[in-house]
């Protein structure tokens, strides 16, 4: 078994082991889950390292497994491989999964099911990022929904059922469009195939109208996942109701699947359709940036604020994805995906830390926590600054790349408007920081709060280091992706 298969099967094995454990032994369950998510984390780190030094020079798929015939009568294959855009995503998935599992140690009810579902979720995520066969891709894409549904629906907040069903149905609704597109592609290709790499070559030869149909169908499916405005309303509900660790995964990995799938599938497959729609995609992106930021500004709930900031930040990705001919923008998009995963993941973790202690997330009830929880405040301010795009941290690099790429290729006024997002970003973040951490401290009410503990610090420190690293020295990450991105841009320029 190759390394990519093992990324899928080790968490699966972990799930089975967890299910075999006695349900009262919470300690064993937690640590088993940690180990079985820790191994893929180390593997993805090694994979990133190895890919960087040995494969990043070319755009070809690396570590390929297959294609092995799976359902020969339908030409369904087991086919895995990674390139410069999936490797960073895998790394992020490995890291955030492990961190989330550690962050879930305070789950007390139905522990066994919780961790089993979590590991299944990891299987789905890893699978999406390594699949090169549409059937396989679709299977993993759908597999994720199931554990996610239960994780929100069982361990969530007061409106968990509503949020879980909304999430599930909304995504499923999008998947149908994807399925139709896949079928169109399957039947128009001669010989019939589900091989993504082959279809990227043949997709662009489809008649223009069919290209448009497929492109729009794929776009709906992926845009719901991103989420692109106006398909975003499942996100705040899901985030607010989901337990902390699930929010981290949701923001850190699941949203990226939308943009990843665009880059992997629909963008290079239908370049002609893409070009004729790119202006409108940019408009959706800019609406997302401004709209998400403004709505964040009006939020009273910490988690909802972070959730809407995700809408704004993913808007930057869409803006970048609209600027297809610009290498800076596409690189910026990848940077933004990674950076958002790190920063927003950390913000959700931190909101969870506060929620665990105060049992509320309402911004207005806090104030002056800076004097009582200095370390927590410092870390929170750090990530708030990262989220508002302070130079020296990853968010700045990505936003700047996107701006410069989009500015060179898209409507300049449109991009100029999107720059407003930078000020709005600062406004909602600083407003939050000020109202929660600064000002006078209410000793009678919050005197019992304790500062962030060691386990929680250990969870966020890797994210801090990576945020700084990408922000200060983006070169390695850039070089890791550049060959793949150049190839993508060539494909999109067809």
């Amino acid at each position: 078994m190759g390394i990519l298969s093992s990324l899928i099967f080790i968490p699966l094995l972990g799930m089975i082991v967890v299910m075999l454990l006695p349900k009262d032994n919470k300690w064993a369950i937690r640590w088993t889950a940690t180990v079985f998510s820790g191994i893929p984390m180390i593997q993805t780190a090694w994979l990133t390292w190895d890919y960087f030094f040995n494969y990043s020079g070319s755009a070809a798929m690396a570590y390929m497994e297959g294609p092995f015939a799976w359902v020969p009568s339908l030409n369904i294959e087991y086919f895995l491989g990674v390139d410069g855009i999936s490797v960073p995503m895998l790394f992020l998935t490995g890291l955030l999964s492990c961190i989330s599992i550690v962050a879930s140690f305070n789950i007390q009810t139905r522990v066994k099911e919780y961790f089993a579902f979590f590991l299944l979720l990891e299987v789905g995520m890893m699978g999406v990022f390594v699949s090169l066969d549409f059937f396989l891709f679709y299977v993993f894409w759908e597999i994720m929904l199931v554990p996610m549904y239960f994780l929100i629906g069982i361990w969530g907040g007061p409106r968990k059922e509503y949020a879980a069903i909304k999430f599930f149905l909304y995504t499923l609704f999008g998947s149908i469009f994807m399925l139709v597109s896949i079928l169109i592609l399957y039947f128009t290709a001669e010989p019939h195939t589900l091989n993504i790499l082959t279809l990227i070559q043949s997709g662009s030869t489809l008649p223009y109208t069919l290209q448009m149909v497929c492109f729009i169908f794929f776009f709906i499916a992926f845009a719901i996942k991103v989420p692109v405005w106006p398909f975003h309303t499942w996100l705040p509900d899901a985030h607010v109701e989901a337990p902390t660790a699930v929010s981290v995964i949701l923001a850190g990995v699941l949203l990226k699947m939308g943009t990843y799938a665009m880059l992997r599938i629909s963008w290079p497959m239908f370049p002609e359709a893409l070009r004729s729609l790119s202006f409108w995609i940019a408009v959706l992106g800019v609406i997302g940036i401004i709209y998400g930021a403004l709505v964040s500004l009006a939020q009273k709930d910490l988690k909802k604020l972070v959730a809407y900031s995700s809408v704004s930040h993913m808007g930057f990705c869409m803006l970048a994805l609209a600027a297809v001919s610009s290498a800076q923008a596409i690189a910026g998009c990848m940077f933004q995906m990674i950076s958002h995963g790190l920063i927003t993941g950390a913000l959700f973790l931190l909101v969870g830390v506060l929620y665990d202690r105060a049992h509320t997330r309402e911004i207005a009830v806090f104030g002056g926590l800076g004097s009582k929880l200095p370390v927590y405040t410092g870390i929170m301010v750090f990530f708030s600054m990262a989220a508002l795009g302070l130079p020296g941290m990853s968010g700045f690099i990505s936003e700047f790349m996107i701006f410069i790429g989009a500015f060179g290729t898209l409507n300049k006024v449109l991009v100029g408007i999107s720059v407003l997002g930078v000020v709005l970003g600062a406004t909602y973040m600083l407003r939050m920081v000020q109202r929660v951490f600064l000002g006078p401290f209410d000793m009678a009410k919050w005197g019992g709060l304790t500062d962030i503990n060691l386990r929680e610090i250990i969870m966020v420190v890797p994210l801090m280091i990576l945020t700084i690293w990408v922000g200060v020295y983006p070169k390695p990450l850039n070089e890791l992706m550049s060959a793949t991105l150049d190839n993508l841009i060539n494909l999109m320029a067809r």
Binding site: K166, L169, Y170, W229, P230, H232, T233, W234, Y291, L294, V295, L297, A298, Q299, S326, A327, Q328, A331, G332, G368, G370, S371, M385, L390, P391, G392, F396, F400, M401, F403, I404, G405, F407, G408, V415, G416, V419, L420, V422, V423, A426, T427, L430, R431, Q434, F437, L438, G439, P440, F441, Y473, P474, K475, N478, E479
Partner: protein, 690 residues
């Protein structure tokens, strides 16, 4: 030493890291470490200045590529040219003084070490900004400076006003940075590089369209407007006075606010490419300067007077630079560049000193209100005299530093009558409000006996920096004496500046300054003219000035409230319309499925059940035919034959009707027959139910 210039900011970063992670718990060690780092940087800066002088100002540049995205290289590097060398001296000198002074001022503060950490981080950012060799890098440090300013203004964050002021400063400057970013994008897209020298080459050789140069210059200037608190973004600086006073001295007088001026000076070649953009710069500069000076006339908070004075002086520098760009673009000579940067240096020294002096006064009397002070010169002579020296300098008293630099600024405006008149007017106002401050604070009778009694001179760690700076507040200007070896040519941009002495100009500038001081003396020392009467005479002007021309209130109404209202509207729009559509789609689906269920239950299933019902009812009816009477059956058969025959004869071919009539008739007849046997009927009926 110049090769090691990168160490200057890095040492400050080291200090920050050391304090945060290792020295936080040892206050003495933390502050000592920070001070030793900045002093080292100070010595290095002097050395670098000497080396740069020895090179005749030839720039030294070194950089390495951070990464490159497509064709654009992003680099980190240092550029040491005369402007950088001077700025290094300014920043490290004021930085050192402030750090030493803070030993006394921040004594007993519970977050003492953290204060030094923040100061070090600030100095790292500021020095990085000064040393940057490209626009991308200067923007990075520019933003870091903004961050540290935010942290330091809100240092006493338990005070709501301080926290508010920090937020306001950050967001207001970020609005300016919006323009800066767009300027950077224009440069990146059209020049394809961020390196100063390469960008200037492309602008100079006309490879970038003139419209783009103008736009880029104006957008870059937006950044400077934010950072240097120029109109209309000046509102954050006075509020920023909520921070500790050493911070005000370092950041909001000498260094950070100077960064905007530095940016304009640094990218002067872009401005020179566009007369229009330069004119915008000059107009914004003079407007700001006049506006701020007019507000400073009436303020009673010692730090706010200084803050508005700072805004006003920065406007001076900006104006001088703008006029330089304008004149040069049109091919005229102008001393503006030299004047702006020269004033930047002298201002840093005397304004830093003024703030530190104000801090010393506040430390002694525990109030910011000058109406509660008076006669403090006797109580605190060192603070008082140094403060007076600085005030003389800013007023342009002959032979002080301010005298020389302000003189150059006035000289810049000689060819622009409107600017000239306003500049002279502002010089007069400056002298007046500064000396109003001096007379109210240090002379006359104490207006608050209690505070006066408790006032005392500050400890030596605080007064020595004052004395040191007061020396600089005088001698730093001497390098500008016409004919003084080298310096005026040294900082000068491009061709050498003609260094002849313009006596008329000097006399005018001096007279104006002295008359301002004289008027203040008449009003606030001799009380020959009543201040209240003056105020009454000015009427609405006085009220406007006292209320800072209502900028905060106006922004509240036209900017902040609308944005919040839009945000709230968007939120309800999101919940009601966008999410409403989603939930509506869900509800519609549910409704549809309910309809389908109804249809299924009553129509589809109804048809099936209905068919069964029909059959059963038919059976129930037909059972009447089963009379069991042979005669009846015979009759039945007979009737059938007759009917068939009738049909055959009459040609009726519509069988169903015939059949229906026939069957109905039979049933009715059967029913009639059965009436005679009720017992049987009941039994049958029971059977039928089963």
């Amino acid at each position: 030493m110049t090769e090691l210039a990168y160490l200057i900011p890095l040492l400050q970063l080291l200090s920050f890291v050391m304090i945060v992670f290792f020295l936080r718990w040892k206050e003495k060690l933390a502050s000592g470490f920070a001070i030793s780092m900045i002093l080292t940087a100070w010595v290095m800066s002097i050395w670098i200045l000497i080396e740069t002088l020895a090179r005749n100002g030839a720039p030294y540049e070194v950089f390495f590529y951070l990464t490159s995205f497509a064709s654009i290289n992003f680099e980190i590097g240092i550029l040491v040219d005369p402007l950088t060398a001077i700025m290094l001296i300014v920043v490290t000198t004021v930085g050192s003084c402030v750090q030493i002074y803070s030993l006394g001022y921040m004594h007993n503060d519970p977050r003492f070490s953290r204060f030094y950490a923040y100061l070090s981080l600030f100095l790292f950012s500021m020095l990085g900004l000064v040393l940057a060799n490209n626009f991308f890098m200067i923007f990075i440090f520019w933003e870091l400076v903004g961050l540290t300013s935010y942290l330091l203004i809100g240092f006493w964050f338990e005070k709501k006003v301080a926290a508010d002021a920090g937020k306001k400063a950050f967001i207001t400057t970020r609005i300016g940075d919006l323009g800066f970013i767009v300027g950077l994008l224009l440069i990146g897209v059209y020049a394809g590089t961020f390196n100063y020298a390469e960008v200037f080459d492309k602008v100079g050789s006309g490879m970038i369209p003139a419209g783009v140069v103008t736009a880029a210059a104006i957008f870059l200037f937006c950044g400077a407007v934010g950072k240097s608190a120029q109109f209309p973004l000046h509102v954050w600086l006075p509020d920023a006075m909520e921070g500790p006073t050493p911070v005000s001295a370092l950041i909001h007088a000498a260094t950070m606010v100077a960064a905007g001026v530095y940016l304009v000076a640094r990218s002067m070649n872009v401005f020179v490419g566009s007369a229009d953009a330069s004119m915008v710069v000059a107009i914004i500069g003079i407007t700001t300067s006049l506006l701020a000076a007019s507000i400073a006339l009436t303020q009673n908070d010692i730090k706010r007077v200084l803050a508005y004075s700072t805004v006003s002086q920065l406007g001076y520098m900006i104006m001088a630079l703008g006029l330089y760009g304008y004149d040069t673009a049109l091919g005229h000579h102008s001393p503006g560049y030299y004047a702006g940067t020269f004033h930047l240096m002298t201002h840093a020294f005397f304004k830093g000193l003024l703030f530190l002096g104000a801090g010393s006064v506040i430390h002694a009397v525990h109030t910011n209100d000058i109406q509660e002070m008076g006669g403090l010169l006797k109580k605190m002579p060192k603070t008082g005299w140094t403060f007076l020296i600085a005030s003389a300098s800013i007023a342009g008293f002959p032979l002080t530093a301010g005298f020389f630099s302000k003189d150059e600024i006035v000289a810049t405006t000689l060819n622009h009558p409107v600017f000239y008149v306003l500049t002279v007017l502002i010089a007069f106002m400056t002298a007046f409000y500064m000396w109003r401050l001096c007379f109210l604070t240090f002379f006359g009778k104490p207006r608050d006996e209690h505070r006066y009694e408790h006032a005392h001179e500050s400890p030596n760690v605080m007064t020595y920096p004052l004395i040191f700076l007061s020396v600089l507040a005088v001698v730093a200007g001497w390098v500008g004496i016409p004919g003084f070896p080298g310096i005026s040519e040294f900082v000068y941009h491009g061709e050498p500046y003609h260094t002849h002495v313009d006596w008329v100009n000097i006399c005018v500038a001096t007279l104006v300054g002295l008359s301002g001081i004289f008027l203040a003396w008449l009003v606030y020392y001799r009380k020959a003219i009543s201040a209240d009467k003056l105020a009454a005479m000015a009427g609405p002007l006085y009220k406007g000035s006292l209320n800072k021309w209502y900028f905060d209130e106006i922004y509240q109404v036209i900017l902040i409230r609308p944005v919040m209202a839009i945000a709230r509207f968007m939120w309800s729009f999101d919940a009601k319309v966008v999410d409403g559509a989603v939930n509506g789609a869900g509800s519609l689906t549910m409704l549809w499925s309910d309809l389908k269920m109804w249809f299924d239950k009553w129509i589809i299933d109804g048809a099936v059940n209905g068919a069964g019902w029909l059959v059963r009812q038919g059976g129930n009816l037909l059972k009447f035919v089963q009379t069991g009477a042979v005669q009846f059956y015979a009759l039945f058969v007979l009737t059938g034959i007759v009917a068939l025959g009738f049909a055959k004869i009459s040609g009726i071919t519509w069988w169903p009707v015939l059949l229906l009539v026939f069957v109905t008739g039979a049933i009715m007849f059967g029913a009639l027959v059965r009436r005679g046997t009720p017992a049987e009927e009941t039994a049958d009926a029971v059977e039928g139910e089963n």
